[in-house]
Symmetry: C2
Subunit: 157 residues, 2 copies
DNA sequence: GACTAATCATACGTACACAAACGATCTGGC
DNA sequence: GCCAGATCGTTTGTGTACGTATGATTAGTC
């Protein structure tokens, strides 16, 4: 009776059962995405070197560099992190002295984030590493395959 | 002086600086992979329904179903989780009564994992959902694009 | 038989990731 | 001016994910 699966046309039950019996974990997009992401973070951690940044910390720093100053939630939206996540990321970056907080003049709910001089020095060095990390992640693909892959990846976001 | 970046040919310094200045977070594979994975887990959580399984818990259950019984570390290798991670996953599955542990006859270091009847019922229902989840994740791609994307994704793992 | 190396499972610490709930503050409509 | 709803930032709880360390057990070597 498939319990609570979204109601299927009665005739589709057999086909559905076949798909269940032949389900291969290794062929599922989700599993492949998880492993690809896993490999990338391993490369990232390896190649980032002494900067000791995580991918999300790096993303936050780059965005702050691009925009000069920005509120925490806004930064979270631009880097695709929810408020709870971006809070932890910025807290650790502030603790390391790479960013600083200043109260916003016109909105007292906001704390504006800015790079410190140490932060700026680290971002520039880290971005150079970031270029190499992207290259290493894409290394298994030919020059022709890379734009195809990136374009398809963009579509499923 | 770029501090500690892996030594570059002196002539490449200018090109490297250009890449740093023009670095766009949104164009990096790592960022795209993170967001694609993020979207997939959101779909997964939404569509998995009352089974209340996470992607990794689901992967573990499917692998145990395929193999009948298996040791914890072996399961971790097959599902691409390190020993510390698979330990947490199996602990939660055991706490929910979906899998059970039995001592291995020939190797006293091992605890063999098996599905309980409740576990088996859940996996079958969950796999039907898994098929729909894969479909929903790939929905933005045409029929022609899907195998291309999966094949490229497999290459970068 | 004893020693070494490898493997298994566990424990601890750090870092994402999101849901849910919270108080503080801002804004639009009246 | 005032109130309702939205937004900002925080906190708590659960669940990956991995490095590192540890103890138990096994397997290989001498």
């Amino acid at each position: 009776m498939k319990s609570t699966a979204p109601k299927l046309p009665a005739g589709a039950a057999q086909a559905q059962d076949d798909r269940v019996a032949g389900y291969t974990l290794e062929d599922q997009v989700g599993h492949l995405l998880r492993r690809a992401h896993q490999r990338h973070t391993a490369i990232f951690q390896n190649d980032m070197g002494e900067a000791q940044l995580t991918p999300t910390q790096f993303a936050a720093l780059v965005k702050i560099r691009d925009l000069g100053q920005i509120s925490q939630n806004q930064l979270g939206r631009l880097t695709a992190m929810d408020p709870a996540t971006i809070q932890g990321v910025t807290r650790r970056l502030e603790a390391r002295g790479l960013i600083e907080r200043a109260p916003d003049a016109s909105d007292r709910r906001l704390a504006v984030l800015r790079l410190t001089p140490e932060g700026r020095a680290i971002v520039d060095a880290a971005i150079a590493r970031g270029v190499a990390i992207t290259e290493a992640t894409l290394a298994p693909l030919s020059e022709a395959e890379r734009p195809v892959f990136l374009s398809l990846l963009r579509k499923i976001i």
